[in-house]
Chain length 347, copies 3
């Protein structure tokens, strides 16, 4: 028997009137200030009493259809019969409201070391830190203040974790990894595994020692089941503010610049270096030993085989500047018709 | 030293005569009823005394070559010098025989809670349930009858698991996930991790709270190292009877209809909704915010960028109706020849 | 606060003079024999006092730029103002030096069974073996001499592990898996999960029992978060000396010949059999039921849909012999120009 689907939205017994919400997010209210809001939801699932928001223009048709009692929008959205709160960044405002209703999405778990956790010698645990059941922390590792380590996670020797780090259950962090503050690492991620490096002699693949480490700077988020290999001799380096989605492969010696996004199932081969604010979209692949500039966008499922200057936007297999690739795709779409014409002429 | 390869088939000391097997599967026997069957094997590996089956027509040439003493076939297979048992669905009949010889593929492990498991307060454990060594079950979680939780698996707070659920070792199920009955989840899967959602302000990526949950209905199977992200505010929803292969990515707010198949390394981006009986083949990718109808087939390694109506069969990058894409691929194959001809004309 | 990046190279207090190093690796020294070497590093990160090596010709420009005090090169590298040690395989020589300076990259951990490990009945543990904290080893499993099992790893029933095997933390090895000697398996790998096999009857997918096993021969390395499914009735088989990178999918009944390489995020579908010395590059995909010969190269991101003879080198979607595919890619690149010309003619 399938469980009775619970309500689509997390529950809360708190309510707010719409003018209180407008004040909370410093937004401009258009509508009845006394509408009472009982919960938060996405625009498609919202019910009467909910507040929702409109951020992605694809959802614009839902503005009229949503059952929500109020919608947070950006300033340029036209009037509707719905109560609206206008604000610069609707999803940020909505986040504030969600936090008000629900508290932070992870209810705070009490700090402390679970009695079943195994903490090796010379481990330093900062105040307010939390180490979950059956977690293992090996020797000479330092855990910063208010950092949380999930159940059954394993942290190797000589690791440094900064403050307010959140490591979910079942993460593996190999020895000598260095992690900054405010980093989030999701379940199943493996940080600091050996790179894939062999010297082939007479057809046999001899393992090249992988004795480097991984450096993850502040404010990085790493998705579930991601792999980040250690550097061969030096470091694999993920810089401040970069966010990595699930099932991504980061090979040895890769450098990813600040505030980049690497989307699910993308792979970055060994020694490739990315600049700042890059976007590597889903299932894209980059060969090794490339250099990408700043503000590069690699579109989904593209295969990058060459280094790219600042501001490049590339698509395709092999990846090309997007306008060029779009011309090629347009020509390919017409190819059957063209071939047919040529055949008729030649007949 | 490589271990001596053990026999290719699981061992059993039980034997059956062929007419007993025919009765067991309600099949029609063509051959000596007294042939004694000692084991089960695939058609290529079977030895004398084994019974095997023929289901995939690619294996038809093996019907005459197999060393098996008998073969289960469908009614339309022509005679052979082999003993045959004819039945409507050979692989189902074979499954019955495997079960007779070996018992269920997972030998029943005794129910009960391993003394090293950590069970938090307010956890309800149904009768006949089994919780493995070092498993962790957090507070307010409900585990149905005869459900089994593997060693070192971590189940978060406020989770519901139905009856006869099989969770293998080292699975992570985050808080508030809801799982129906007869669900199987393989090792390394991560259910309910945060979706990949940020609001970019002045080049910095601010995390959008991911406070929804995952709903997995009855009879779903989820492969090893799969990631299913929680909904942002509402649910990510995998409906009854759907089967997901290893290393698949299911992003936040995705809905997958009943009895669909998602093959290894495919990825489905955020908020995309699939109908019933879809097949998403291996390494395919779907962008976000699409709607796919029922009975849609996305061929292997295709990249879907548009919504698709019922019954669509699509292939390619970008994915197109298969007949259209096949015309394009045929034209592409002739492209070098065509270019050469054009060059000669123009010269 | 981001941690102060530690020095890029692992530390060591040992030093060697250059002529001692030349002797150690049996190389030919060109330069001052008394230069004192204090550490090892990659060519781009090396500092004064380090020795490095040059193996990949892409790094040739760094030979003059590196701050390293000496560089190990192959015999055909031209003179430089740097001290050089000439040897046949520079990276192998360098490995010897790394080992001298640092010891093996994994500092030996003391053998023994951690008191929190759960070892079931009838488990045989060889001398010198190590079983980490919270590891679980189920009944009737055999662990060879000097084999190491990481923290929180789970080994199922009736498993055989050879000698000098290294299993990292959080690996799942399902029942009946057989593993040779000198095998390395990285964190998050899942060995022996059920294959993806269903018989669809009236739109419902009925699970076909997956009762085979996985055989991994000597000297195999398996990356982080790899999935190797068990055979359906027989075995999934990875032969001696094969190396598999992170996040690879190996489906049921696959056979991979000796000394092959399977690079990150590649996927091999069910029952496909590969010969020796194959290279399956990153993000490639092979459909099921194929046979590949020896010395086959599947280039990155290629989709293989047909069996391939010995020595094939294939590229593309669908994969074709590389020379053929390169002609097609060259023609595709010119396609917009060709279409334009044709249009002008026809106008």
């Amino acid at each position: 028997m399938t469980p009775t689907p619970r309500k689509n939205k997390p529950e809360s017994s708190k309510t707010l009137e719409l003018d209180e919400i407008a004040k909370l997010v410093k937004g401009e209210l258009a509508g009845d200030p006394h509408i009472r809001i009982k919960g938060v939801a996405g625009i498609k699932d919202a019910q009467e009493g909910d507040i929702t928001f409109l951020s992605n223009s694809k959802y614009l048709p839902f503005l009229e259809q949503t059952k929500a009692s109020a919608v947070i929008v950006s300033g340029d959205i036209q009037a509707s019969h719905k109560a609206l709160i206008k604000t610069a960044v609707p999803s940020q405002a909505f986040t504030q409201i969600v936090d008000w209703f629900l508290g932070p999405s992870e209810e705070g778990q009490a700090p402390g070391i679970h009695p079943t956790a195994v903490i090796d010698k010379n481990v330093i645990v900062g105040s307010g830190a939390r180490i979950g059941a059956h977690a293992v922390v090996e020797e000479n590792t330092t855990i910063g203040k208010n950092t949380s380590i999930g159940a059954n996670t394993v942290i190797g020797r000589h690791v440094t974790l900064g403050q307010n780090v959140k490591i979910y259950p079942l993460v593996s962090i190999r020895e000598r990894t260095q992690i900054g503050s405010n980093v989030i690492i999701h379940s199943g991620a493996v940080i600091g595994s050996d790179g894939f490096g062999y010297e082939t002699v007479d057809g046999r693949h001899l393992k090249i020692p992988q004795v480097g480490f991984v450096l993850i700077e502040d404010d990085v988020e790493i998705g579930a089941n991601v792999c980040v290999d250690r550097g061969r001799f030096q470091k694999t380096w993920i810089k401040k503010g970069t966010k990595i989605d699930n099932l991504v492969q980061i090979a040895h010696n890769v450098v990813i610049g600040e505030n980049s996004l690497v989307v699910s199932q993308a792979g970055i081969s060994g020694s490739t270096e990315l600049g700042k604010n890059n976007i590597i979209a889903g299932q894209a692949g980059l060969v090794g030993h490339l250099t990408l500039g700043d503000n590069v966008v690699v579109c989904a499922r593209s295969g990058v085989t060459k280094s790219l200057p600042d501001g490049s936007v590339v698509l395709g297999e092999p990846a090309r500047p997007i306008s060029e690739q779009k011309r090629i795709l347009a020509a390919i779409a017409r190819l059957p018709e063209i071939v047919k014409k040529l055949m008729n002429k030649n007949s």
